[in-house]
């Protein structure tokens, strides 16, 4: 299997800020790499370098075997990019947007029109095809943007936070669309702030913070590092705290911590563990105010991997200014 994306030692400064600090990435053909990190971790900077929008200060990168710095035009023929900010012309209709992109890829007028019609159909935009895109909802605009990235059926697709800012329904729709693409063999680099999204879509995940990779592996491997899911419960009577801890520890066989009425336990068997805990507490007559199963969030991953919570830095703002 060949690597469709390969980046080595990418460094990028914005003034004093090191947006990328020696990032290495490889994405094998037909696989999905999730680049996971908080705002300002350097995700967008990495994407912009790999898609020829930005030059790295040092380091090398090839996409589909072509060097991004030496032959950007050749790279552009092989990639499709859909960004965090929908790159559509709001005055043009959906159809006109896609036709324009097709013609700029050099498809020719007739093929560009056919392709536009086909993609609008595929992304459920046929009805809105001849309305200016500024009348579209956020989700529709994002789908149109993704369609724009697919006009030339690129071998490599790069999606920069494809679901940030979307409502839950649009997010699920977007996931379906992305899964379809992956099923057809597209190589995908995806950035996201959500562990769940990387979990759902990516074969491999690279966690980045302050411009460097701090962990990589499959979603399961990462979650194992974090300790998987947790049960959070609140007892009705604070005096029951210690009793609850013992019962929970017996039921799930892992460490349990208690703070006041709150009891937290890492579990490995998810819903099964939850049921076991419920049965044990019920049998012992411990009354509960609340109980639930929580998946590890990006914050948990960060806390575990770096010892600090995911900070919101201003590097993305620096990217904005530089544009």
């Amino acid at each position: 299997m060949t690597d469709m994306i390969r980046a080595e030692g990418l460094v990028k400064h914005y003034g004093e800020t090191r947006a990328l600090d020696g990032l290495d990435l490889t994405v094998a053909e037909g696989t999905v790499l999730g680049l996971l990190g908080p705002n300002g971790a350097g995700k967008t900077t990495a994407v912009r370098i790999l898609t020829t929008l930005l030059l790295a200060d040092s380091g090398t990168a090839t996409v589909a075997g072509v060097d991004v710095a030496k032959d950007p035009q050749e790279v552009r023929r092989r990639i499709g990019l859909s960004g965090q900010y929908a790159a559509v012309d709001e005055h043009l209709t959906g159809f006109e947007n896609l036709e324009m992109v097709g013609r700029l890829y050099g498809l020719g007028r007739k093929i560009a029109k056919e392709r536009a019609t086909e993609l609008l159909e595929r992304f459920d935009l046929t009805e809105a095809a001849h309305r200016p895109s500024k009348t579209y909802s956020g989700g529709m605009r994002r789908r149109l943007d993704l369609a724009g990235a697919l006009v030339a059926s690129p071998a490599v697709l790069v999606l920069d936070e494809p679901t940030t800012g979307l409502d839950p329904r649009s997010r699920l729709q977007m996931w379906d669309v992305i899964r379809d693409l992956v099923a057809q063999g597209t190589t995908l680099l995806l950035t996201t702030q959500y562990l769940e999204e990387a979990d759902q879509l990516a074969d491999e995940i690279v966690v980045i913070d302050h411009g460097r990779a701090i962990a990589r592996g499959t979603a399961d491997e990462l979650k194992l590092q974090v300790g998987g899911e947790r049960i959070h419960l609140t007892v009705a009577d604070e005096a029951d705290g210690d009793k609850a801890r013992e019962l929970v520890a017996d039921a799930v066989g892992t460490d349990v911590s208690v703070t006041g009425r709150e009891v937290v336990a890492s579990v490995n068997a998810g819903a099964q563990s939850l049921m076991a805990v419920l049965r044990a507490l019920d049998a012992a007559g411990v009354r509960l105010l609340d109980i639930g199963l929580r998946r590890p969030t990006l914050d948990d991953v960060f806390l575990t991997l770096t010892g600090h919570a995911a900070e919101q830095t201003t590097e993305n703002d620096a990217v904005e200014v530089a544009r």
Binding site: T51, T52, L53, L54, L55, Q73, E74, R76, R77, I79, L81, G83, Y85, A86, A87, V88, D89, E90, H91, L92, E96, M100, V101, R103, L104, Y105, G106, P132, D145, G148, A322, R323
Partner: protein
Amino acid sequence: MTTLTKTFNDSVVIAQRNLIKIKRVPEILVFVLISPIMFVLLFAFVFGGAIDAGPGLNYREFLIGGIFAQTVVFGATFTGAGIAEDMQKGIIDRFRSLPMSSSAVLWGRTVSDVVYNVLSLIIMALTGLLVGWRMREGVVDALAAFALLLLFAFAISWVMAWVGLMVPSVEVINNASFIVIMPLTFVSNAFVPLESFPTGLRTFVEWNPVSALTQAVRELFGNTSAMVPTPDVWSMQHPVLYTLIWVALILVVFVPLSVRQYRLASSR
């Protein structure tokens, strides 16, 4: 496909896209077309009585050539604003990630703005005819005058395109361009006769390309008087040639400069 045909095709696509915007938001056009009408009426009726164009010359007749020149120069701001706006929007990332010609965004914009200039010249000519201006040298000369105005407008568009790439936001464009455009158009023979300027300023006026353009247009439309001799300066004696030299000069400098700036603009 050769680079040249690729650039040409891509520029046509971008120009079409820009023209669609004018179709969708015609309000943009209303403002840029109304300002020349306003200028014609303002100068013709407010200042017309106070300014003496010279013996044998009606001020309104004298004025229109100047208004034409002034309007095409002001119109270039439109190009700068269009480019600055594009650079701020997400669409520029789409363009930059496509295997398109890197100068097409600029060529497309400057070419689509020629269409806008044609419209604005038509409106101005009609307003001029209403207030008493006439083309007295025949169709060929009149067409030559309009062609010269469009060429100069196209060249100035490239200057403003470059400015549009340099400014941080669209709002700055108007201020930035006024600093250049106001002196160029007002310290010229566009509104008052060249003879009325004091000696020091007069040399600037004589060699100002806007003066030459105005002079050229007046001659081609036959809006000059035999009783007012053309100033004895090379630029005023050969206004068409002098204007064309400026057009060439501006394009030679600002086309490569703007294309380079476009490539740099977001790859920092």
